[in-house]
């Protein structure tokens, strides 16, 4: 946590070179100096102005301050040899700074993290992260069937202090804990929830299934042999999932039956359709329902399902009402997943 006084290195680059900060991109000074990019951060960070000055290496009181900081390192407890009056005045001033220094330092780290969250979603920032991705700075997916696909650092929340940084694997669309414990001190909010998915949308032509070493060996990309589905290249939608990429439990070569109590239950999580065009819901919907224009996509899907499950109605007639409850609990989404989006409004 040195302030890099006396060294030519900037605060930002020294911060990014710290152990455990390997995932961070170096936010450009222009980005920080644009006040628009910092909107709302004043309220989130204590000693905002001092922290910002520290990040930008702006000396609040010119060169006197610089001297102080050098002394701080060399002569912390050897105060006796400070002789003349001018230095004494400086030291008195300095003692105030020293007490605040650690507070400012941690504020600066927080502020930098929050700026970083915004920066890596900007054009320059995502470009820088793409370079780090290509160099494999973020590590690889631990899942065996992902075949060392490169990961991206993400947060599970945009609010600092809630969770540490995680690694998002574009190959299996899942998140993992970084292998090294030094990343367990890095706040996930410094990367944010948006970056991972935005990266995939920004660089659709990356070959996601390839590991860093292989990608470096052969730079040619053959992403366009298949068409686009749902706004992405079909071959880039979860390349680590699907048939052959699902672990199949076996005992002495025989598959464990699904009907066994300890049989496979989670294969859906690693599954994907053999024919990706199945996922093109809008196109399929229009192919199937040319006549009635008024019902929406969600509707058509559920009626399709209902045909398969007509026999399984529970007696009692409360079905419609429970569906309504369900609608409320799921916030109208067809996915039974807790809406993570709610917290961004806090």
């Amino acid at each position: 946590m040195s302030t890099s006084s006396g060294t030519p290195e900037s605060w930002i680059s020294s911060f990014c070179s710290l152990l455990g900060h390997e995932y961070f991109a170096e936010v450009s000074e222009e980005f920080i100096e644009d006040d628009f990019n910092l909107t709302g951060l004043q309220n989130q960070v204590a000693m905002y102005k001092e922290a910002l000055e520290m990040i930008l290496d702006v000396e609040p009181e010119e060169d006197e301050e610089d001297e102080d900081e050098e002394e701080d390192e060399d002569e912390e407890d050897v105060s006796g040899d400070v002789g003349d009056g001018t230095t004494r005045r400086e030291r008195r001033h300095h003692s105030r700074v020293a007490s605040d220094l650690s507070v400012i330092e941690s504020s600066a780290e927080m502020l930098y993290g929050l700026i970083h969250q915004r920066f890596i979603c900007s054009r320059a920032g995502i470009q820088q992260m793409a370079e780090k991705y290509e160099l494999g700075h973020f590590g690889v997916c631990p899942r065996t069937n992902c075949n060392q696909a490169r990961t991206l650092p993400v947060g599970l929340s945009d609010i600092p202090g809630e969770d540490t940084v995680k690694l998002f694997c574009p190959s299996c669309l899942d998140v993992y804990v970084p292998p090294n414990s030094r990343f367990q001190t890095v706040d996930g909010a410094f990367f944010g929830r948006t970056f991972g998915a935005l990266f995939l949308l920004t660089f659709p032509e990356y070959d996601l299934s390839r590991s860093a070493a292989e990608a470096a060996a052969s730079l040619g990309r053959a992403a366009d042999e298949q068409g686009m589905i749902n706004g992405m290249y079909a071959c880039n939608i979860a390349p680590g999932l699907g048939r052959d990429k699902i672990y199949e439990p076996r005992i002495y070569g025989f598959r464990v039956s699904e009907l066994s109590r300890s049989g496979p239950r989670m294969q859906w999580l690693r599954d994907k359709p053999d024919d990706m065009s199945l996922l093109d819901e809008a196109r399929r919907y229009h192919a199937e329902h040319d006549d009635d224009e008024d019902s929406d996509d969600d509707h058509s899907r559920s009626t399709r399902y209902s045909r398969r499950s007509t026999a399984r109605r529970r007696p009692g007639g409360g079905g419609a009402r429970q569906r309504q409850i369900q609608r409320q609990t799921q916030n109208g989404s067809p996915m039974a997943i807790e809406a993570n989006g709610a917290e961004s409004e806090l």
Partner: protein
């Protein structure tokens, strides 16, 4: 590994197996019983697999007394490790072996699942092949039922055949109560709070796969083992037909919400637990079919 030269000199004569499993990087191994090792039946076929089979076996069982040069000893040492690994794969599927590995599993000796949604569930070592020297050891998470690479490179160099492809599955066959509750919780990629279409479409498809699996299991009356959203998902299949009426019901339910206070309570109960409470909330909607009660209500308003 580097210090084995010196350590083996002093230790191997007495407790080779003790020393072996205490080596750094050998944390995944459990100690094989003396009786198991000395029963020739258990070692059937291994003599063709292991060089200097007899010497290696002697070394493993602390009977080694051959006077030989260092190079020879090193070769035998290597063979002994290989032999131990191969016997280990057979031993851990026996009753005693399973119990020993279970202890280690409970202590988390094999590490924790890296998948965030698995909440550090303990892992089990496994091989992707039963043939030695093909694939290194992998780790199996019983919660997400997937396999992962070990974090540490010293574990990544262990042969997967020393654990085998069957062990972890047999463990859960023998101890079915240990099968962890499955969770449908998962990561949803988002951009500024919005789901990404391609990923969301895939997840909808996966959810449909899961729902059909659960329907199938229910038909066969097999426990599906999902701890949460049990109710919601089963509801999914059952309530679909009422889709047409839903728009009407929305208003009606809102009205009831304002009038009778029991509704929010039902909602929380419904969120909380399994099918039993559902039946309760179905009853709570009064034994009159909801459409009927709705009509009555509307009538009174008019």
């Amino acid at each position: 590994m580097d210090d084995y030269g010196t350590e083996s000199e002093s230790d191997y004569t007495s407790y080779w197996r003790d020393w072996f499993i205490s080596l750094r990087g050998n944390e995944y191994f459990c100690e094989i019983d003396e009786e198991y090792l000395t029963d020739r039946f258990n070692l059937t076929g291994l003599n063709t697999e292991v060089q200097y089979y007899q010497y290696a076996l002697d070394l493993v069982t602390d009977m080694f007394d051959l006077d030989c040069d260092d190079e020879m000893r090193e070769t035998i040492e290597k063979s002994a490790r290989h032999l131990y690994g191969l016997v280990h794969a057979r031993y851990i599927v026996t009753t005693r072996g399973l119990a020993k590995m279970l202890e280690k599993y409970k202590k988390g000796d094999f590490g924790k699942c890296p998948r965030v949604m698995c909440n550090s569930h303990p892992l089990l070592p496994m091989g992707l092949s039963d043939v030695p020297n093909l694939k290194p050891v992998k780790l199996y998470c019983a919660r997400c039922e997937d396999t992962y690479n070990p974090k540490s490179s010293r574990h990544a160099s262990i042969d997967g055949a020393y654990f085998g492809t069957s062990f972890h599955n047999i463990l859960f066959q023998v101890y079915p109560t240990l099968v962890p509750a499955k969770s449908v919780e998962r990561y949803v990629p988002r951009v500024y709070g919005f789901k990404v279409h391609a990923a969301a479409a895939l997840m909808r498809w996966q959810d449909a796969q899961r729902a059909s699996m659960r329907r199938k299991l229910r038909k066969m009356e097999v426990e599906s083992g999902f701890k949460d959203n049990e109710a919601e998902e089963l509801e999914d299949d059952e309530g679909e037909e009422d889709e047409e009426d839903e728009d009407n019901d929305v208003e009606i339910d809102d009205d009831i919400d304002e009038a009778g206070e029991e509704h929010p309570g039902q909602l929380t109960r419904y969120r909380g637990a399994g099918p039993v409470t559902i039946a309760g909330s179905g009853g709570g909607a009064s034994s009159v079919p909801s459409a009927f009660s709705g009509d009555a209500h509307m009538g009174s308003v008019a």
